[in-house]
Symmetry: C2
Subunit: 316 residues, 2 copies
DNA sequence: GGTCATGTTGCTCATCTGCGCATTCGAGCA
DNA sequence: TGCTCGAATGCGCAGATGAGCAACATGACC
């Protein structure tokens, strides 16, 4: 009996959704009353047989966003749909676009925006429209002078975001990580660096990404750390880094000594910020995303569907 | 302008389909009139941004079936959905189920059903319900005594279908292909074989599958042909076989000599039959499916979504 | 500036659809 | 057999929706 009904509900759904016939017409074809048809369709939906996807680069998953807001301390969450996405690049592009959109719509418009650097942030900067805001000053919040070609990218990211908002960019003239603690202390004490750090610590909003803890990390790529050092960090529980600082799944600093040699604002500044927007996407960043959200390092998360589900614990 | 509208239509679609809000509510949220929202949703659908799939083993693609009926000579077409299918086995099972369903609902109920043999047909026999009809006699229409363990399967298929319909099965006691023409002529002349062939030629309906022309063909597997012989047939234009007879993309016999040594009803019998149901599924059978449908070898086709689209020429 | 063609907007109305309630059906049981 | 109760069914109604239409804006061209 239930078996027959299930089959009927599929037939009804085909006629309703594919052939868009009216419930009454379907009733005539299947020799049922239109009320029965309505109930069969409701049943089909309830059983999850009907899958509706919005296939578009700008599509979002509102239901997942809502669940994220409800089950975490996030004040806002943006989850881009991964429907119809085949490559990782495409997903990154979608997420960056969403971050740019969010930033554009952000109210109040931040006077000073603190940003990190990396591939993700760079892509966000490219997706921002010219004139996305007016008079937003951008300040780097972690060491941005890298040891290779990425240097240009880091600076370009800040400059682009500022330029498109008719604002000024303030770069942090320091390496991300120094080899010796006293060098780091010295550079931090330097007026030009200290001023930027103070500006960063007082920013009205933050926009940053996260790096996964493996040999593909941007910090390894930039030459600040070796693959072995990262492996050692993983052994100590690291899941990834935020503004250059490696944290474990609870959001705690993994290696205080290394952290001491890292130049940039403290994680506490992010934790207490009114607006801290994290942009994290990709399968390799599920753990770090979970850590960031779980330990309150951001107030807003922009991410993709799969990462969001991982944070909600809905796919192992 | 159109760009903004497109984005709005996506936002509207999210609220409508994911959050199932009413168009009026969406209007309030997005500051639009409800008519505008309705138009945006219509636009989103028309642009193909909204994808509705029915995820169920018994789901069919009615729109594709209709197009098949319209653009070919088929009197009926059954196309199973491949939504949510991960393995080829699953697709074969779905198609076999659909064929069993179609056979069960076939009117008038055939008094005599001519069948071929093979993996597909066997699976159809398993999916038929006990008592799917009453008093249907089954007759094999091509050589069924194979050279190895498949023999049992071929016979079992016929017997199962007949048994479940309280009918009798008539087996064709002959190899599919003989090595010498005169042996074939002799065996065909034998009363026991001739009687079965006559019965088959007079069947009120046919149910058969098709084999692709490669080394995985059932005829190779059964030992009737070698991989080399099949390769040679392909060189001559063969795309697959129907009841043991290899045809090219126009539905013509590829090798008359080989065809002369093949035991079973002629293709003409299928072409002139009132009801000839072909069950063809899987990526490797797109060409043979196209040939069968294109050359009028069946009146009814049971297949999967991808094969159907290939026949319609909608995916290269 | 005037005129026309085109596309957009707001609206009415007929239709479609989901919800709540009364009725009926049918299995289980005395 | 007759009874009881829960589930399935049929239905009225109000809210939601799509089609068609008139008014209006827009912009091209004379």
């Amino acid at each position: 009996m239930t078996d027959t009904d299930e089959l009927l509900s599929i037939r009804a759904a085909e006629l309703y959704y594919e052939e868009n016939k009216t419930q009454d017409e379907i009733g005539t074809v299947l020799r049922l009353t239109r009320w029965k048809v309505g109930r069969l369709l409701a049943q089909a939906k309830a059983s999850g047989f009907i899958r509706i996807e919005i296939v578009h680069p700008r599509a979002r998953r509102l239901s997942i966003e809502r669940r994220l807001r409800e089950t975490t301390q996030l004040t806002d969450a943006i989850v881009v749909s991964s429907a119809g996405v085949s490559t990782d690049e495409e997903l990154q592009s979608r997420t960056a676009q969403a971050a740019a959109d969010y930033l554009t719509g952000l109210r109040p418009v931040p006077r000073t925006l603190g940003i990190s650097w990396g591939r993700t942030l760079h892509e966000v900067s490219l997706h921002l429209a010219q004139g996305w805001a007016s008079g937003v000053n951008v300040v780097q919040i972690n060491g941005g002078v890298s040891l290779n070609r990425r240097a240009g990218t880091a600076a370009a990211t800040a400059v682009t975001i500022a330029h498109k908002a008719s604002g000024a960019a303030t770069l942090l003239p320091s390496p991300a990580i120094l080899e010796r603690l006293d060098t780091k202390t010295a550079i931090e004490a330097d007026r030009s660096v200290a001023a930027v750090l103070n500006l960063g610590a007082a920013a009205s909003a933050y926009l940053f990404s996260a790096g996964q803890a493996d040999q593909n990390s941007a910090l390894v790529d930039s030459g600040y750390l070796t693959a072995e050092q990262v492996a050692e960090l993983v052994r100590k529980g690291a899941v990834g880094d935020i503004v250059g600082r490696y944290i474990d799944s609870n959001g705690n600093i993994v290696d205080p000594e290394l952290n001491g040699r890292t130049v940039g604002i403290q994680l506490e500044a992010l934790r207490h910020a009114k607006t801290a927007i994290a942009v994290i996407t990709g399968g390799s960043k599920h753990s770090i995303a979970r850590a960031v959200v779980g330990s309150g390092l951001c107030t807003v998360l922009v991410t993709d569907e799969d990462t969001a589900l991982a944070i909600l614990g809905e796919n192992a």
